[in-house]
């Protein structure tokens, strides 16, 4: 391996080294502050290592990994989310009597898995990243062993994600049998007699990813796991895991030639439409904010995968830009809500403070928090002047450009239903505060500090800024076809195989 290749994967090397160092650190001295500080600086270092990595764009590091602009962008996004997650976890876990050093090891392992997944260009790398991410997440979901619900959530996630990944692996084996190629870039439809096998494999792989992105009909685990997991882990599940899965799905779709076929497009669109409608409908009755966010994430992922159903080579760059913008906007809004929830909850509490009816009248007692939450919810609902509107608008243009009328209808109907439950939370925040003077824990307790407020305010400012001037970011997100090894072509799409 040349030096240039080491530079290209420097962030991952730093993360791997940091994991080993963490283990040594735990062996030497158990300290809550030390390890949190160390983890944060490791992630910051990995973030800075993206500057030199930028110079190595479009290079393959062994057949397993391919570094391109798209994956670098998503890696920066993932690492920034992790930074927030580490800081939130520190406040959340600090209140506990026990030492929680191992938590940070699992966290870095999960992020390493997500990064490998984003870079992957080969089935083996996809598999390694996928499992590193989900197995560490199982450990983190079940981490607080004194709580009752974590066991249930952890076990559900373990069994279901293991089933989903074995389904995906079976699909990979079938595709390998049909094409003789494990690397994404070289897969082309193989011999005639094995085509059925290859198609079955593609559908199975699609099932595996739908599970991870919690798309209907593989969504049932999402609300339970979101609710049962400790709040910072829910934050990771909703941001890091979703972004990584989106990235790899995009790669499968645009890089691997066998994925461009009409049958799969139809399957993808039906999954997307079902997720948008069902996710929003199920969210209507939720009183628990974590469950509500879980259902709304189902709907948002449904909106997001519209960008994959493109029909022509010309729309690839625009679709990628819209996809990345949308997931960024979704993550920003989710982060605000989850930082607030995590700040209000404690690791040694019986459960997190997650009933949104406790937020009644928050705007009058804590105007700053109330305003941030309202703006985040408006952005999720897609109201103009917030970034969420611009994101939806981009998705809309992609759908129109490719004449996906069914998806457009579902997008509009879904957003309409979504407006109802987002607005009912907003009305609750704006309502008269309850008469009793003693405030509930959901509005005042927890490890909430001034820094939580600052970060929430900063994220809110970004949401507004992106909503008013989307071009400050959108003009930076240029994914030209030559920057990504795309072999998407229309001819392949039209040919039945």
């Amino acid at each position: 391996m040349k030096l240039a290749q080491f530079i290209a994967i420097a962030p991952e090397l730093i993360l791997s080294l940091a994991i080993v160092m963490q283990l040594l650190l735990i062996a030497l001295k158990r300290s809550q502050h030390g390890i949190a500080f160390f983890t944060m600086s490791a992630i910051l270092l990995a973030l800075f290592a993206h500057y030199p990595a930028m110079t190595q764009v479009n290079s393959a590091v062994t057949p397993l990994i391919y570094v391109d602009v798209f994956s670098l962008t998503l890696k920066v996004l993932i690492l920034s989310c992790t930074l927030v997650a580490v800081w939130v976890s520190y406040g959340y876990l600090r209140s506990a009597v026990e030492f929680h050093d191992e938590y940070y090891v699992l966290l870095l392992l999960a992020v390493l898995g997500a990064n490998i997944l984003v870079l992957a260009n080969h089935f083996a790398a996809v598999f390694l990243g996928f499992e590193l991410l989900s197995l560490s997440l199982v450990g983190m979901i079940g981490y607080l062993h004194l709580r009752q619900h974590t066991l249930e959530a952890g076990f559900k996630y373990l069994i279901l994600s293991a089933t989903a990944s074995s389904i995906m692996l079976l699909g990979m084996a079938f595709v390998y049998g049909a094409t003789g190629e494990l690397s994404l870039a070289y897969q082309v439809p193989g011999q005639q007699n094995l085509r059925l096998l290859g198609q079955a494999g593609l559908v199975l792989i699609m099932v595996g990813f739908s599970f991870k992105l919690s798309l209907v009909p593989f969504h049932t685990w999402t609300p339970d796991v979101y609710q049962g997991a400790p709040m910072p882990v829910t934050l990771l599940l909703a941001t890091v895991s979703k972004a990584a899965m989106f990235a790899i799905l995009v790669k499968f779709w645009l890089v691997s030639a066998i994925f461009n076929n009409e049958t799969l497009q139809v399957l993808l669109l039906s999954i997307a439409i079902a997720s948008m409608l069902l996710g929003n409908l199920l969210a209507l009755t939720q009183k628990n904010i974590k469950r509500l966010l879980a259902y709304s994430s189902i709907a948002h992922m449904g909106y997001l995968i519209i960008v994959l159903a493109i029909q022509s080579q010309q729309s690839v760059a625009w679709a990628l830009k819209s996809g990345v913008f949308y997931i960024l906007v979704y993550i920003l809004a989710t982060l605000i809500l989850m930082i607030y929830l995590a700040g209000r909850s404690k690791a040694h509490g019986v459960h997190d403070q997650d009933d949104w009816r406790d937020w009644q009248g928050m705007i009058w007692r804590r105007p700053a928090h109330g305003a941030c939450l309202i703006l985040a919810l408006l952005s999720l609902a897609g109201i103009p002047l917030t970034a969420g509107f611009i994101g939806k608008f981009y998705l809309f243009t992609v759908a129109i450009e490719n004449q996906l009328w069914g998806a457009i209808a579902a997008l509009i109907i879904g957003s309409g239903i979504g407006l109802y439950y987002y607005l009912s939370i907003i009305f609750c925040i704006l309502a008269k505060p309850p008469v009793t003077q003693c405030q509930t824990v959901a509005v005042s307790g927890g490890s909430f500090t001034i820094s939580h407020t600052t970060v929430m305010a900063m994220l809110t400012v970004i949401i507004i800024a992106l909503g008013v001037f989307p071009d400050i970011l959108a003009s930076q997100l240029m994914f030209q076809s030559e920057q990504i090894p795309i072999i998407f072509n229309e001819a392949a799409l039209k040919s039945e195989w």
Binding site: V138, G139, L151, E152, A162, A173, Y176, Q227
Partner: protein, 102 residues
């Protein structure tokens, strides 16, 4: 030596996979669910080895080694959760895990 047709390999691995899958769905004892997961993963391994021999490559076998590693890790985590379940509830029946709903 008689050559085994590749379709037979894939058929038997699909069959094994279904056995494991049904096991995960139907079993109520979590220990047996973990064992069914193992069956599923091994079915996948068989398919990979078969595909590797079809294309005369070692890649399939390497994937199988990776899958074995995954299976070990998964069972380790699963058993850890199982022990905690035994401590908390004094049984390992999966039906007890149904408090989260809404």
């Amino acid at each position: 030596m008689i050559d085994i047709p590749i379709t037979h390999v894939f058929m038997i691995s699909a069959l094994l996979f279904c056995v494991g899958f049904i096991g995960v769905l139907a079993r109520r004892n979590t220990l047996f669910m973990l064992m069914s997961l193992e069956v599923m993963l091994n079915a996948v391994g068989l398919a990979f080895v078969g595909a590797g021999s079809l294309w005369q490559e070692a890649d399939g076998q390497i994937m199988f080694i990776l899958i074995l590693t995954l299976a070990a890790a998964e069972v380790a985590i699963g058993l850890a959760l199982l022990i905690r379940m035994q401590h908390q509830r004094h049984n390992v029946d999966v039906d007890g895990l149904s408090q989260l709903r809404g």
